[in-house]
Amino acid sequence: MKDTEDKITLFYKIPGNDFTRAGEASSNVKSKLKMMGVRPDIVRKVAIAMYEGEINMVIHASGGTIEVIISPEEIEMILKDQGPGIEDIELAMTAGYSTAPDNIRNLGFGAGMGLPNMKKYTDEMSVESQVGIGTTVTMKVKII
């Protein structure tokens, strides 16, 4: 944890393909925000959006990193991976679109609602991706 005057930055390394640990970073952020006294509806939005992003990194990109920057105005999440990248971002954002294999579906994932959920629960979201290089998803949830 790194503190400046009015910002707190949290940093997480997300291991790839470990479904038993997937969600730990999001849970950790959730409890930290709760402890800081952030409004429950804001905490819920951040938790849902970050979890979907975290799971995507685990399933589709063999892990990555997540930086969470908490300021009095907003909570920003930056998710970076060096996975296969997304060829058609617009298509990937479509509700129901998924390339998840059957073993992932058997776990209850792969409904193709992750990226749409991330958009729904955040105030700003951008996806930058290059095939063969990786993906960066940036999301912001406003506090005021």
């Binding site: 479904f19 038993t20 997937a22 969600g23 999001s26 849970s27 959730k30 429950p40 509806d41 819920r44 938790a47 849902i48 979890y51 979907e52 799971i55 776990l107 209850g108 994932f109 409904a111 193709g112 609602m113 992750g114 749409p116 959920n117 729904k120 629960y121």
Partner: protein, 111 residues
Amino acid sequence: MRVQDLIDAGNFKVLNQGEGLNREITGPYCCDLLSLAMGNMPAGSAWVTVMGNVNTLAVASLADAACIILAQGSTLDENALEKAKEQKITVLQTQMPIFDAALTVYRYLHA
């Protein structure tokens, strides 16, 4: 109806007793696809599902469910039980199918 009231009603077996037993249940919610549940489950739901893996617990916690009800005799695997204890999530179980389990909760709420 609080989570504790639902336990006391005796229709469901308690697999793990978590915290938040005084929480009001806002309604039953049924879904097995985790991302759909994540995106649509109202906070405070009694979430009825047949998925009993660690990811179910993560979703319940992050989407702020009041409790999980595993229907149709589904159970928690070992990892999931550990996670439920660690995250203090109340998990109940029933042999009833999903609809009947949800209807039971609904009837209590609207009794």
